[in-house]
């Protein structure tokens, strides 16, 4: 079969790799078209590149496997579904199966001065592609002023990254708190405090009404007429699925290309859509995990094997990539309290001074939402329970805090290698460590408990064996 993939992003590349892995006999010929001028790369890492925690040169994805023809820098200009042909400036390519993996494009808000005839005003950027990233890096300079539009995940990451590069950053957000889709107001406020601590000024409940600057961006004006000077502006105002081509060729498009459970267009069974450009059961995702799952599902369907069985779809988890700001949010994490719904429980630990916030939202004993900020020690367990809709522990405190059990009875084993308890050693009061070793074998294995045994013996005569044990425990292996 001749398979054409439009898009060389995370979803398209994953689709091709999965299909090739299941097709050792090269029955399929796969051709991929990418509009961007460079080899496929990992878009997820761009925030890290901006933050200088990942090198730009390392974001390339693995080279296309044998049998996959990669055509980069070639935009598909037309799809002719009747003829089963895609066209680019360089010619036409026939297909038996067509896969849309066109992803999404940044939304540029209609702000006067932001856009000129030739595109964005110099100094203003969206943050979606590797070339955006390169351009922002070229414009960023320590000591300069930057404005970031949009307090969603990408805007927060960009603001934190630019601050980390020594810029004075103003983050402008129209809503009353940051990440409002994922956080409640208290959590949003703590996040703003954390950003402020890293040098980001946060402007909430306001908007940019105009961008000024003749040749280049020089300032923005806010709703209240505040003027923020800036030499760099990053618009992170969300994305919309890239569906122009799909719409033009007559496919059913709603928010994205409408697909069935096999990821096939409901209009044309020879066409699939995966990733950010697809709408499955009314949902358009914008995260990589669902995109990869859709890619694998489409590959399985086209390749003729069973997809990985799942009890439930992959649920997106937001995980902020912002240095020194650990934040994760999943599910119905913005729910404020149970007033509206008695079946909902909300458990919150808020510690703004230490920029910590933890929250669980439970329905019928199952975690349906969670936020972790500042301390993510128990998040692995929470995410796992959330992913699998498993019952949460009766006392949810165990999910908020990593509380190790501390045993402190004399039954506690001091010499693990030989199973000797504190009680047995205390009974040897008045003897030396080597005598204890001969009697009990304590210390003769790994020897790590020698200090504890000595401490127990020394303090046993102090007639407070429990105090001595506690001391030994603190100093020793436990």
């Amino acid at each position: 079969m001749r398979i054409v993939v439009i898009g060389t992003g995370m979803a398209g590349v994953r689709f091709a790799a999965d299909l090739r892995a299941g097709d050792p006999g090269f029955r399929h010929e796969i051709t991929m078209f990418g509009a961007e001028p460079e080899p496929a790369y990992n878009r997820i890492l761009l925030s890290s590149v901006l933050a200088d925690t990942f090198p730009l040169r390392d974001i390339a994805l693995p080279a296309a496997p044998d049998g996959v023809h990669m055509r980069v820098g070639r935009s598909v200009t037309e799809v002719d579904r009747a003829a089963r042909v895609v066209r680019t400036e360089n010619g036409a390519t026939e297909y038996d199966v067509l896969v849309f993996a066109t992803g999404s494009t940044p939304v540029v808000p209609p702000i006067p001065g932001l856009r000129g005839a030739a595109g964005l005003t110099p100094g203003a950027f969206t943050f979606r592609t590797a070339s955006d990233c390169r351009a922002i890096l070229a414009a960023a300079r320590p000591g300069g002023n930057a404005v970031v539009l949009g307090g969603g995940p990408l805007g927060v990451e960009a603001a934190r990254a630019l601050a980390g590069r020594g810029m004075a950053v103003d983050l402008v957000h129209q809503q009353t708190h940051l990440l409002q889709r994922h956080l409640d107001p208290v959590a949003g406020r703590i996040l703003a405090m954390a950003l402020t601590a890293h040098g980001v000024r946060v402007h909430l409940d306001t908007a940019v009404t105009a961008v000024s600057g003749e040749e280049r961006v020089s300032a923005v004006r806010l709703t209240d007429d505040t003027v923020l000077s800036c030499e760099l502006l990053v618009a992170a105002c969300g994305t919309r699925p890239e569906v122009a081509l799909a719409r033009a060729c007559g496919l059913a498009v709603n928010g994205g290309v409408v697909v069935d459970d096999r990821m096939r267009s409901i209009t044309d069974p020879a066409v699939y859509a995966v990733g950010d450009c697809a709408e499955h059961r009314g949902v358009v995702h914008g995260l990589v995990e669902p995109a990869w799952e859709q890619a694998s599902r489409a590959a399985a369907d086209i390749g003729g094997w069973s997809p990985e069985p799942r009890d439930r779809p992959v649920l997106p988890v937001l995980r902020l990539k912002a240095q020194d700001i650990d934040l994760a949010a999943m599910g119905d994490s913005a729910v404020v309290d149970e007033v509206d719904d008695p079946a909902t429980e909300v458990v919150v630990f808020a510690d703004p001074a230490r920029r910590r916030y933890k929250k669980l939202v439970l329905r019928a004993g199952v975690i349906v939402g969670a936020v972790f900020m500042g301390d993510t020690g128990t998040m692995g367990t929470v995410t796992d329970l959330f992913d699998r809709a498993r019952p949460a522990p009766a006392d949810p405190a165990a999910l908020l805090f990593d509380l190790a059990t501390s045993g402190d009875s004399t039954e506690q084993v001091v010499c693990r290698c030989n199973g000797v308890t504190a009680k047995t050693i205390l009974a040897c009061e008045g003897r030396t460590v080597s005598e204890v070793a001969r009697r009990t074998r304590a210390t003769t294995g790994c020897g790590g408990c020698a200090g504890d045994v000595a401490a127990l013996l020394t303090r046993a005569s102090a007639k407070d064996p429990f105090a001595s044990l506690a001391a030994a425990t603190v100093n020793g292996a436990s």
Binding site: I44, E308, G380, T381, D384, R416, C417, C446, G448
Partner: protein
Amino acid sequence: MTVRPDATVRPRPFPAGGGLCVKGWTSGSLLDSPHRLTTPLIRDGRDGPLRPAQWDEALSLIAARLAALRAEHGPDAVAVFGGGGLTNEKAYQLGKFARVALRTSRIDYNGRFCMSSAAAAGNRAFGIDRGLPFPVADIADAGAVLLVGCNVAETMPPITRHLNAQRAKGGTLIVVDPRRTATARLADLHLRPHPGTDLALACGLAHLVIADGHHDLDYIERRTTGFDALRRVLAHYWPERVERVTGVPVAAQRAAAAALAGARTALVMTGRGTEQHSNGTDTVQAWINLALALGLPGAPGSGYGCVTGQGNGQGGREHGQKADQLPGYRSIRDDADRAHVAAVWGVRPDDLPGPGQSAYELLDGLGTADGSRALLVFGSNPVVSAPNAGHIERALRGLDLLVVADFVLSETAAIADVVLPVCQWAEESGTITNLEGRVIRRRRARPAPPGVRDELDVVADLARRLGAPGFDADPETVFAELGAASSGGRADYAGITYDRLDQGDGVFWPCPSADHPGTPRLFAERFATLDGRAVFHPVEYAPVTERPDAEFPLRLTTGRVLAHYQSGAQTRRIDELAAAEGAVFVQLNPANAAELGVRDGDMVRVRTRRGAAIAAARVTDDVPVDTVFMPFHWAGDGRANLLTDPKLDPVSGMPAFKVCAARVDRAGERAS
């Protein structure tokens, strides 16, 4: 250690700062144990009892039955199952016996269930498999140690001395284990991945090392191949994704990567926890990739190593017990290797069988149309230790002939047709190869009780009865022959003699000639690959483990406890050890216990898609929510391996012992 004639045991400071755990201290008590077998046993008819017999009757019966089965069904009708506790001489003799006397391809051993994934990955990356390619004392000099799935504080306590020394010098210890084990309690940093996700964690740590520019470019350039492909694959393993997959927080990943990158010397060491998976080979490769990216292997105090599971786990896999190997770690597929060994054995290369089946495949096939009809078991107890043990026990019971050589009536011996009583460690002479690749002597301390024979002698006798000459019962003679067979191979013992071993603290292989000093450290100059470079083999994470679902919502993992060894056939018969840890238990997080209405000590039933086991609940947050742990040392209804998943690693043949989907229910009413 040393043993006195009265069977009391003392530690001695060897190889370095030696110590003994409770298993070592009590090991003498089995020598004179009433559980000891001292006469062969024969079962007449399928359902009859085992009755005492003379050696001649037992061996004649075995030889006659084997010859008849071979004549009727071909040589592969007979299979051999060995053990990693056998001396090098016995392991070698058993491999030769299978190929020369039985002419069967069907030989494998319990080491397949132990270190085969690490062995396969080591061969792939370094061109050689030696557990630690450096002396164990190097651990103390490592600025950072990353121990993965390796609970040495319980499974190999004396090694903890080296870790204590390492930490006393200011070194950092990082432990990767889903459970808060005794070893994890020693650690400065404990990473707790969900069982079965280690591969993603290893890739994530390597991603961070490279992202931060801490990889050793000069080393990578000079000493390795394949880095560019690896680097691109690692781009997929950004920390937030790895956190989602593994449950290990980003901050902990960064701390671990920084500790490894910041240390002047560092060791990455793996154990069964990360190896016993159906992607075990790739998982170990991922840890090796991390070590290579950091430029560790080959430098003193640095490197990658695998911690041995059995007494002679290392030597046991070098000398021909493995289905695809000949002595000296030679390949049974390679013409030159076959020719060399055939010459030593005095047979034609074409007479040697080809590669056989891996352990589980061999056991799983018993009694089927293509499977073997007779099995000889030496030094192993698969009724307890094989995965999916209920199924394997049924297969063993259906055999035409099951022969077990052991010194106690293990669960496998108890269902055998013929049981042969053999020596214990203190009664045998020979060599073993420890985790460092150091060949050491085991000296006979006392004679075996009357009626007991040495396996070398038993195998030589059987070979003779099967018309195959050239099998000797004298360990030193066998060792010299082993040396010749291994000469020029990867595990070259040719220059090692008992005299040399008696003069010092053992010799590290490879040691190709009498004047060669042995090789304590491998890889200083080159790796054992054709071009001398280590190989970065890019590996990708995929969820290969049995997925928990509504019926089996928990993850079961299995392992060891301090007081017991392997299938427990020996240690359960030692009163002191039985008193320390007398019955099987299952660790259950308090949240799961509460959900089930189970209290500490209640009996519970653990079920998987393969079977059910009964165990006492041990309620502890040492296991994460939804992960349960069961030790595998017990028999009968308490067998953890009734539950385990026999899905095999495609490269190593390792079963997925370390994770499967399970459920736990209360078993009956509470006593109180």
